[in-house]
């Protein structure tokens, strides 16, 4: 096996590990919201350092690969994609940390009705689904799966667009929950950005496998 093949495999494994870590962070953040568990939220904040550590290491490994192996064609596209995916994953980690911090700052738990009507939990479930699918698409080089992510991201965008209207409505009905409502507002904003990041990851996967650039211009297949 060529040297470069080994190194690419190692890089791939590292990215998958980071992916799993970020997913677990997100999962914990959701649990923190549902159970209003500040301890779990604090765990997420502490673990964020590990996510950053992964990002630095993967960046460095990519740099070394460029310098020492001069990758071309598919190898080149792969390393370029990894650099960007690395970045996207780190931001998702940041968002999970941000969500957890909001739970820590909140004084009162969020009501069941608020959680359901805001769709925040549904949004998080969609995030898990597209994050998992993106990982599967990455591991199995499945561009069809990658393309399916774009449509589901639409759902997240829709909720986000309706957010201000929802907030005004809910506030009018339940003014006593204004604090919680505002926290959920911020959380939903953040969750929508997760969708954007995963969408970018999907674009990078398609680029590396098909050498097609879908940035700033994509079709919903």
């Amino acid at each position: 096996m060529a040297q470069i093949e080994n190194e690419i495999k190692q890089l791939k494994d590292e990215v998958v590990n980071m992916w799993m870590l970020v997913r677990s962070q997100l999962h914990k953040a959701k649990t923190a919201i549902v159970n209003f568990d500040k301890d779990i939220a604090r765990e997420v904040v502490v673990r964020e350092k590990r996510v950053n550590g992964y990002e630095l290491k993967i960046d460095r490994d990519c740099e070394n690969l460029f310098a020492l192996r001069t990758p071309v064609a598919v190898d080149l596209r792969f390393v370029l994609a990894i650099l960007k995916i690395n970045n996207n994953l780190e931001r998702i980690g940041d968002i999970a940390e941000g969500i957890s911090k909001l739970v820590i700052y909140a004084e009162l738990p969020f009501s069941e009705e608020l959680l359901v009507r805001s769709n925040v939990l549904d949004m998080l479930d969609v995030c898990f689904s597209i994050l998992d699918d993106a990982l599967s698409a990455f591991e199995n080089e499945n561009t069809i799966l990658a393309r399916s992510i774009f449509k589901r991201d639409e759902f997240l965008n829709e909720i986000n667009i309706q957010l201000i209207r929802f907030t005004k409505e809910y506030f009018a009905e339940k003014p006593e929950e204004i604090d919680a409502t505002l926290y959920i507002f911020s959380i939903i904003r953040k969750v929508e950005r997760i969708g954007d990041q995963v969408k970018n990851i999907a674009e990078e996967i398609i680029f590396y496998i098909e050498a097609k650039v879908l940035k700033h211009h994509y079709k919903n297949d």
């Binding site: 060529a2 040297q3 470069i4 093949e5 001069t70 990758p71 071309v72 064609a73 598919v74 190898d75 080149l76 596209r77 050498a211």
Partner: protein, 252 residues
């Protein structure tokens, strides 16, 4: 739309019964640098040597098909005529050790008995050496023998010697494999300059060199022309899996 200067049609090359170059059809545009790469024994050097009819000098070697230089079939011309129009530079620098630098540059004329007036000869020597960025370095020692130059300078002298014959096409057979990295860079810079006036076809083992200097690249494998495309395309997204395997080092 660039005009084609060399076009081969169903070109095949043999060593005795050994079919070494198989049915190559390629069109090479004017004033371009074309790199030919491929693993050892893929036929790239044999193909190159077929273009200026050097291939048939080896006992038992023969070829068929057409090689059109500006529409004229080189295979039908006398080999000597062909070599006056298509120059060649080899892997090991080979200036004539019994001739001075000056005489080396005009060796093509001298050895062929073509008499030129001194002023014209002087001009050819100066122009050719300037084209290969050697004039300033050797203009005061033109009478010295060529073999006292460094490897990189010798190779540039050989290029000057080829250029002095005012060919249309220059063939290079792994021109920098015997040179150190700095000389290699100097020669590669020359390629960029030379392509303004000539068309260059370079056989190279060094993929990065092909990537650095060429406009189009041809990939040969087991005697066949597997892929031929813009260099940028070849190195970011080649069409054939064999090409990709080669350039990513999955097999050398």
């Amino acid at each position: 739309m660039e005009s084609t200067i060399i076009k081969t049609v169903n070109y095949n090359s043999y060593f005795g019964d050994n079919h070494v170059v198989k049915n190559v059809n390629i069109e090479i545009p004017h004033n371009n640098v074309i790199a030919i790469m491929g693993p050892s024994g893929c036929g790239k050097t044999t193909f190159l040597r077929g273009i200026n009819r050097m291939h048939e000098l080896i006992p038992g070697a023969h070829a068929n098909g057409q090689v059109l230089l500006n529409g004229e079939d080189v295979m039908q011309l006398h080999p000597i005529m062909v070599r006056l129009k298509i120059g060649m530079v080899f892997q090991r620098p080979n200036p004539f050790p019994n001739l001075s630098i000056y005489d080396n540059v005009v060796a093509g004329y001298k050895l062929n008995g073509i008499k030129l007036p001194k002023s014209e000869r002087d001009q050819i020597v100066e122009e050719s050496l300037t084209k290969v960025a050697l004039w300033k370095e050797v203009k005061d020692s033109l009478n010295k023998k060529g073999t006292f130059l460094s490897g990189g300078q010798q190779q540039r002298l050989c290029i000057a010697r080829a250029v002095a014959m005012q060919p249309e096409v220059l063939l290079f057979d792994e021109p920098t494999s015997a040179l150190d990295p700095i000389s290699t860079s100097t020669v590669e810079e020359l390629f960029i300059e030379l392509k303004n006036n000539y068309t260059l076809i370079i056989v190279t083992h060094n993929m990065q060199q092909a990537a650095r200097v060429s406009d189009k690249t041809a990939f040969f494998y087991m005697g066949e022309l597997v892929e031929y495309d813009e260099t940028k395309q070849m190195f970011t997204n080649p069409t054939d899996q064999r090409t990709q395997n080669y350039i990513t080092g999955r097999f050398s």
